[in-house]
C-alpha cells in the first residue's frame, strides 16, 4: 500500500491529523489528533477509533498532544502517530522519510522534542520540516499558475488552534511579517459550548459533539445587527432557529441536526435587505407550518443567534474580551509589514485555508471587512481553497514528490552525529 515515493507526509494539525504519501492527491488518513476515553472505561481510543460509526462520543475525556498549536505532549503524539503509521498507512518508519508540517515560530525546545520523537522513538530514515503557508502557496501556485505570476501570496490559515496571516514569497514564508490571532476552531467550539451550557443544556463535557454541531450549523453573518433582529422573532418565523439532537446511546450513537432544511433556511434570506426572495421564503414558511412541532426533549438544544455569533468572533475577537484585532486587520497588518512593492500584489492574492474557513459565507464576509481597510487603488482578491483542510497536506505531497526532496532532508545519521540544533539550521528558521 506504499505510495510511489515512500515519503510519509504528515500535517500534524491540532484538530485533525492529515497523513498520506508524497505524490498522492489526497491523504490516506484524516483523523482527529487526540486520544479519548469514554466515561467509566479504562481504554483510550486513539485517532481513527473515534470516527467509528458505533462510537458514542458523549462525555469523553480528551487528551490532545497539541496545546495552542504547538506539539507539547510527545507521549500522546507518539501513540497517535504509531496508530496512524502502523494501522492506517502501514509503513515501516525505518525505510521511509517523513515530511512534517510544523507550526511557525516553534520554540527550539519543542523542535528538539519533535526531532527526538521522529528519530529516536519512531526511527525514521530521514526527516524534513516545512511550514504550512509555503506549502499552501506551493499547491495553489502549481494548480493555478496564472494567478500567481508574481510568485507571492498571502496565506490566511485559520485552523484549529490559531489563525496566521503569512506572506509567502517564492515559496518562502516571510516570517518577519507573519501576524497571528490566538483564535481558532477550538476556541470557537469552546465558546459555543459555553453559550449552550449557559443558556439551555449543560454540555461542558461534550467537546466532540459541540464540535460537530458547530461544523454543521454555524455560519458567518454578512449583516450582524440585521440578523440579530431576525433572530429575535418567535420560533416559527425565526430563520435561524434549529435544533441539534444529542445521542442517547441507544438509538443514536452520533449527534445530528434535527431538520436539515430548517438548518439551511438562512441561505434563502435576501442579502442586504433586498426583497427578491420573499416569495420562496413565504412558501418555505408555510411548508414548515405543516410539520408537527415536536416538543423539546431532554437530549436536544436549540441554536438561534449562536449560529452566527460564534464564527463572528473570528472577525471581532474583542467581543470576547480578547484584546486582539480581527481577521481583516490581521491580514492588513501582515501585508503592511512587507516591502511596499509587494503590498499591491499580496492584496490581490490572498489564499484562505484551514478548517475554520469552512463556515458558509466566510469569504464574502472577509472581503466585505477587508475592502474598507485597503487603499482604493489596490485590488482585493480572495482565493478560497477547494478543500481548505487538506491544503497544506497537498502542498506537502507535491514537495515530497520533487526529485530534490531527499537533499532537503536531514538523515538519521546526520542527526546522530550533529544533534538537533545543527541539523535544524538547514530549514532556515
Amino acid at each position: 500500500m506504499t505510495g510511489g515515493s515512500g515519503v510519509v507526509v504528515l500535517d500534524n494539525g491540532g484538530g485533525l491529523l492529515k497523513a498520506g504519501f508524497g505524490g498522492d492527491m489526497n491523504p490516506t488518513a484524516v483523523v482527529p489528533n487526540c486520544m479519548a476515553k469514554p466515561p467509566g472505561s479504562k481504554k483510550w481510543l486513539v485517532a481513527d477509533q473515534l470516527q467509528a460509526q458505533d462510537v458514542d462520543v458523549t462525555g469523553m475525556a480528551l487528551k490532545r498532544p497539541i496545546d495552542r498549536g504547538y506539539l507539547i505532549n510527545t507521549e500522546v503524539q507518539r501513540e497517535v502517530w504509531e496508530r496512524v503509521l502502523r494501522n492506517l498507512l502501514q509503513v515501516d518508519p525505518t525505510n521511509s522519510s517523513l515530511l512534517l508540517v510544523e507550526p511557525q515560530f516553534n520554540p527550539p525546545a519543542l523542535q528538539h522534542a519533535t526531532d527526538e520523537l521522529v528519530f529516536e522513538e519512531l526511527g525514521f530514515k530521514s526527516f524534513c520540516v516545512a511550514d504550512a503557508p509555503s506549502l499552501v502557496h506551493l499547491y495553489e501556485a502549481s494548480h493555478q499558475p496564472s494567478l500567481f505570476r508574481a510568485q507571492c501570496s498571502l496565506v490566511v490559515d485559520c485552523g484549529f488552534s490559531f489563525t496566521h496571516a503569512s506572506p509567502v514569497l517564492q515559496n518562502f514564508t516571510l516570517n518577519y511579517a507573519v501576524r497571528r490571532m490566538d483564535l481558532g476552531g477550538k476556541a470557537l467550539t469552546n465558546y459555543l459550548k459555553e453559550l449552550v451550557s449557559y443558556r439551555s443544556l449543560n454540555v461542558m463535557d461534550e467537546t466532540l459533539l459541540i464540535d460537530d454541531a458547530k461544523e454543521k450549523l454555524c455560519f458567518v453573518s454578512l449583516d450582524v445587527p440585521g440578523d440579530l433582529r431576525l433572530a429575535r422573532l418567535s420560533s416559527k418565523d425565526n430563520p435561524f432557529r434549529c435544533s441539534y439532537i444529542l445521542p442517547d446511546g441507544i438509538t443514536y450513537k452520533k449527534g445530528f441536526v434535527k431538520d436539515l432544511d430548517e438548518a439551511r433556511r438562512y441561505c434563502s434570506l435576501p442579502a442586504n435587505g433586498e426583497s427578491a426572495n420573499n416569495d420562496s421564503a413565504e412558501s418555505d414558511r408555510s411548508k414548515f407550518e405543516d410539520k408537527k412541532k415536536p416538543e423539546l426533549s431532554q437530549n436536544e438544544f436549540v441554536l438561534t443567534n449562536e449560529r452566527f455569533l460564534v464564527p463572528e468572533m473570528l472577525f471581532h475577537p474583542i467581543d470576547l474580551g480578547m484584546n486582539q484585532a480581527g481577521l481583516a486587520e490581521c491580514i492588513v497588518r501582515a501585508i503592511q509589514a512587507c516591502h511596499p512593492y509587494l503590498q499591491p500584489v499580496l492584496f490581490e492574492s490572498i489564499i484562505v485555508t484551514g478548517g475554520s474557513t469552512l463556515f458558509p459565507r466566510f469569504t464574502e464576509r472577509l472581503e466585505k471587512e477587508l475592502r474598507p481597510l485597503v487603499p482604493d487603488d489596490y485590488q482585493v482578491k480572495i482565493i478560497a481553497q477547494e478543500d481548505p483542510i487538506l491544503g497544506a497536506w497537498r502542498g506537502g505531497s507535491l514537495l515530497a514528490h520533487r526529485p530534490d526532496f531527499e537533499s532537503m532532508c536531514i538523515t538519521k545519521s546526520e542527526y546522530e552525529e550533529m544533534g538537533s540544533m545543527r541539523c535544524r539550521r538547514r530549514f532556515f528558521h
Partner: protein
C-alpha cells in the same frame, strides 16, 4: 472589619458558615474590578481547554481521603509512610504525565532576550484592534446588550433577560 464578622459568625458556624464565606468572597470580588478582569481572563483561558476528564483530579482526592479519616496514631503513621511512598511515586508519574503547557515552554524560551529584529512567537501576535470597539451580547439570549448587571458586570438586553439573569446566573463567575 473582616475579623469582626468572623467573630459574629462563630457560634452559628454549623449553620451559616458556608453562605457567609461565599458572601464575603463575593463582596471582596465585587469591591475590586481586578477580580472581574481575572474572571474575564480565566474565561478566555478556558477557551483553550480540553475536557481532560477526571484523570487530573484523581490523585489529589485520593490523598485527602488517606490523611483525613485517621484517628489512631500508629495507624496514622503507617498510613502516612504509605502515603508518602505513594505520593512520591505518584509525583513522578504526574511529572511525567503532566506535560508542560505551551506557556511554560514559551517562558523558558526567553524570547525577550532576542534582539528586536528577530521574528518570534510573541512578536507575531496581531496586537490590539484599532478600528472597532467592543460589542456586548446579552448573556441570556445573545442579542445586543445595552445594560450591565450592577453586581457582576454581565450584560443583558432587556428587563426579561435581567430577571432571568438575577434568578439563575448572577455572580456565577465571581462566586
Amino acid at each position: 472589619m473582616e475579623g469582626e464578622e468572623e467573630e459574629n459568625v462563630g457560634p452559628f458556624r454549623r449553620t451559616s458558615a458556608r453562605t457567609r464565606r461565599m458572601a464575603t468572597r463575593m463582596a471582596s470580588a465585587l469591591a475590586s474590578s481586578d477580580n472581574r478582569a481575572q474572571a474575564a481572563l480565566a474565561r478566555l483561558e478556558a477557551l483553550e481547554n480540553d475536557n481532560a476528564g477526571p484523570e487530573v483530579v484523581d490523585p489529589n482526592d485520593d490523598d485527602e481521603y488517606g490523611s483525613d479519616d485517621e484517628e489512631d496514631h500508629v495507624l496514622m503513621q503507617k498510613k502516612q509512610s504509605k502515603n508518602m511512598k505513594r505520593k512520591t511515586r505518584q509525583g513522578k508519574a504526574l511529572e511525567k504525565k503532566a506535560a508542560r503547557s505551551f506557556m511554560d515552554v514559551l517562558h523558558e524560551a526567553n524570547l525577550e532576550s532576542l534582539p528586536p529584529h528577530v521574528p518570534t512567537y510573541s512578536r507575531a501576535a496581531v496586537g490590539p484592534p484599532s478600528t472597532s470597539s467592543r460589542r456586548y451580547y446579552c448573556s441570556v439570549c445573545g442579542n445586543a446588550a445595552n445594560y450591565t448587571c450592577v453586581r457582576c458586570g454581565t450584560r443583558f438586553c432587556s428587563c426579561r433577560c435581567q430577571v432571568i439573569h438575577n434568578d439563575t446566573r448572577c455572580l456565577k463567575f465571581v462566586a
